[in-house]
């Protein structure tokens, strides 16, 4: 992981979660989920703090956190684009949507724009197969996408800023 010099998270925000779960066995994933909800991602100092409080080695905390796709270790942009990679979306052209997003924003799976506005993540099936190809931006689903339509949606979000 990167240098943690600037990594100063407010650890008190996590106190309630740790009090509730730290002595319940098998709760590491639950604690990590709550932590991500609080901080938006899992900063290194938070992971170390969780390890200390739960008496689980840091290596193990990291091992679990990096195993699951839900966990992030970098902050995400204001708008998180989740592009569905389900079979139906694949068959109906999700690759062309990914290309259109790259053309518009210059970012690929896992990246964030320099202005911190957009992040994109390729995700497993969102389950809206009949609307494929589909992307979800901050909880809102956009379906029946075409490359042009996807670009249009992103431009509108940009213009709102």
């Amino acid at each position: 992981m990167s240098c943690c010099c600037e990594n100063k998270s407010d650890l008190t925000l996590l106190a309630d979660v740790l009090n509730e779960y730290k002595s319940v066995k098998g709760s590491l994933i639950t604690i990590l989920q709550h932590a991500q909800e609080i901080y938006g991602y899992l900063p290194e100092d938070v992971l170390r703090h969780i390890a200390e409080q739960t008496d689980i080695p840091v290596a193990k905390v990291l091992g679990v956190a990096t195993f699951y796709t839900q966990f992030r270790f970098k902050p995400v942009g204001k708008y998180l684009i989740m592009l569905c990679q389900g079979t139906a979306c694949h068959v109906n052209g999700s690759e062309r949507i990914a290309a259109a997003i790259k053309e518009e924003l210059g970012i690929e799976d896992g990246q964030t724009t320099d202005d911190g506005l957009f992040s994109i993540k390729h995700v497993a099936c969102l389950g809206c197969c009949s609307l494929s190809p589909v992307m979800m931006i901050n909880g809102d689903t956009y379906g029946n996408l075409t490359p042009d339509k996807a670009k249009q949606i992103l431009r509108e979000l940009k213009n709102e800023e």
Partner: protein
């Protein structure tokens, strides 16, 4: 005049994505009062948002593809009986056959009741099965399930009664019943629909299972990607507890069982039962060696029984109606019904529940209405990354465990993705291998590295860099991965490759030998050109080209600069004269 008792807006995830939430809000602003209600997913995803209007004469008016702007028309119909107002929104006879040709057991309440209201579930006979089961002995419950022939709906098709019996026989004070709702197969959403639309049915099925094996604690492991399912199940558990169907001394019959939800964190391998247990214990989701089986030593090393959502969704019905009634449906090799998530290039996509013994043709053409475009049906993919592609020639294959396995595919959990001639089968195999490569937990060498090597080979074939012997090398890797992997993920990962080689070998050969993609999908192997005979010189394609690769004089045939062309296909899509050729 007919009085309208209930106006129900379908609010499953895909309904909401299609705008059902906005429709509900618009309707609520029309002053329709208490008749306005929410329901789950009826399964006709292709017609969302859907509004059902129930009259006191027993008639149902189903309105489809409703928009916010239609709210006023619906209000006019409900208040003034103006049938004309909603005429254009009513479902067509053809589309309604999507439902009438199905037999619904697991989905029997979906889209009918309000999933957030326990009373509606009870009014349809809900929680009477647990009452009946508690008057039976656990052995009698297991016997009933045995008679029904119910088998695991998660994909493997293992007899449910056998697992229950094994867990029953294990001696321990603490046992667990666990529901696997980690529906990770890309292209499947049956389980999500059941939890979102009829959560009490799952709870009741699990309670009956808990009673049968002697468990006092039930855990539902739900994918984190299903927030609405988690929300509704949480509400349902609270309601069931309040009404005494869950918790201590259920229905005063001395049986106690608590239930909780555990949200997954995104790992396909956690659909494997021992990996799921590891994840429940807060570990990396890596499979354990079997035996011991979970029925002997599972969650916290106690006897545990794990079933899929759809399996549990059948249990209450079986207890109520008897094992024989369930076993009457289906074939020798598969009893009861199966739910499929029908998607892809099919005209009518959604949730389909049919008795086993029907054919793929019945589902894709009779219920699904055939292809969406005028292109020909090519293949259907069953079972996701663990399954395989069945070609058009085998469309009359009967749907049961044995018949589907004989094709090289599997029943799977229910994903059914329809493909037409524009889908490249090598590309399809690469898509699934890309998935399994990413999702392999890394424990077994053959799965971890073998899938990666297969992915690399498929990738180079799709790029036109395939070599002689690649197909044979793929086949060799398939065999060793199947043999060398500990769990179902690795053992079945080669299936998409094996079935596409088996049925579409010529497509692989065309990629390797002729450097051509017959489906016209692999970007590196295709090129676009304009047929000067057909081109009218309208210049629409030139306007739509994102890289200005098309040039020409108005009313004269245009030309594509293949050096500049990025093969996005925009020109082909916009040409009104079919002048753009893709080879």
């Amino acid at each position: 005049m007919v009085k309208y008792m209930k106006i129900a807006v379908g609010q499953g995830s895909c309904g909401i994505a299609a705008g059902a939430g906005k429709v509900y809000k618009a309707l609520s602003e029309q002053g329709l009062g208490s008749v306005l209600a929410k329901t789950g997913c009826i399964g006709m995803c292709f017609l969302e948002p859907i509004v059902d209007i129930y009259g006191d004469d027993g008639q149902l008016k189903r309105l489809v593809k409703v928009s916010e702007a239609d709210a006023e028309k619906i209000a006019r119909f409900v208040k003034e009986g103006d049938e004309e107002a909603i005429r254009s929104l009513e479902i067509s006879c053809e589309d309604s056959e999507f439902l009438t040709k199905q037999t619904r057991i697991a989905l029997r309440n979906c889209g009918i009741i309000d999933p957030e209201n326990i009373d509606e579930y009870v009014a349809r006979g809900g929680y009477s099965a647990i009452e009946k089961a508690l008057d039976m002995t656990p052995e009698q419950v297991i016997e009933t399930i045995k008679v029904s022939g119910l088998a695991g709906r998660g994909g493997a098709g293992f007899p449910t009664w056998f697992k229950w019996n094994a867990a029953r026989q294990s001696v321990s004070d603490t046992k667990y019943i666990i529901c696997n709702a980690d529906e990770g197969d890309p292209g499947a959403f049956m389980d999500r629909a059941v939890i979102e639309s009829d959560p009490h049915n799952l709870i009741e099925g699990m309670l009956i299972g808990a009673y049968a094996i002697g468990a006092k604690e039930a855990v539902v492991y739900v994918r984190a990607e299903y927030p609405l399912a988690i929300e509704r199940l949480t509400k349902a558990i609270a309601q069931a507890k309040e009404k005494g169907y869950l918790g201590q001394n259920i229905l005063g019959k001395g049986f106690s069982c608590e239930m909780r939800i555990k949200a997954g964190a995104g790992a396909f391998v956690c659909g494997e039962e021992t990996a799921l247990i590891e994840s429940l214990e807060g570990q990396r989701g890596m499979p354990r060696l079997k035996p011991p089986f979970p029925a002997q030593s599972g969650y916290w090393n106690e006897p545990s029984n794990i079933n899929n959502v759809e399996t549990f969704a059948n249990v209450a019905w079986i207890i109520t109606n008897g094992g024989e009634a369930f076993a009457e449906m289906g074939t020798e090799n598969g009893k009861g019904t199966k739910v499929f998530a029908l998607t892809g290039k099919v005209k009518r996509g959604g949730l389909v529940e049919i008795p086993m013994g029907k054919t793929l043709r019945d589902v894709i053409f009779d219920i699904g209405g055939g292809m969406r475009s005028d292109k020909a049906f090519k293949a259907v993919q069953l079972g996701g990354p663990s399954g395989g592609c069945i070609p058009a020639a085998l469309i009359d294959t009967v749907i049961d465990y044995k018949s589907l396995s004989a094709t090289g595919a599997i029943m799977g959990s229910g994903g059914m993705v329809v493909m037409d001639e524009s889908t490249c089968m090598v590309g399809m195999a690469r898509f699934f291998l890309d998935f399994t490569t990413k999702e392999s937990c890394g424990k077994c060498v053959h799965c971890r590295i073998g899938t990666k090597r297969m992915m690399e080979i498929l990738d180079r074939i799709c790029k036109g860099e395939g070599k002689q012997g690649d197909i044979e090398l793929l086949e060799e890797l398939c065999v060793s991965i199947k043999d060398g992997a500990l769990c179902g993920l690795g053992q079945t990962a080669p299936n998409p490759v094996l079935t596409t080689i088996k049925y579409f070998r010529n497509e692989y050969e065309a990629h390797i030998e002729e450097r051509k993609c017959p489906a016209g999908e692999c970007v590196e192997l295709i090129s676009y050109s304009i047929d000067p005979e057909k081109c009218r010189g309208c210049s629409l394609c030139a306007k739509k080209c994102p890289v200005s690769a098309i040039d020409g004089v108005i009313k004269q045939p245009h030309k594509i600069d293949t050096e500049k062309c990025i093969k996005c296909g925009n020109c082909k899509a916009v040409c009104k004269f079919s002048a753009v050729v893709c080879e």
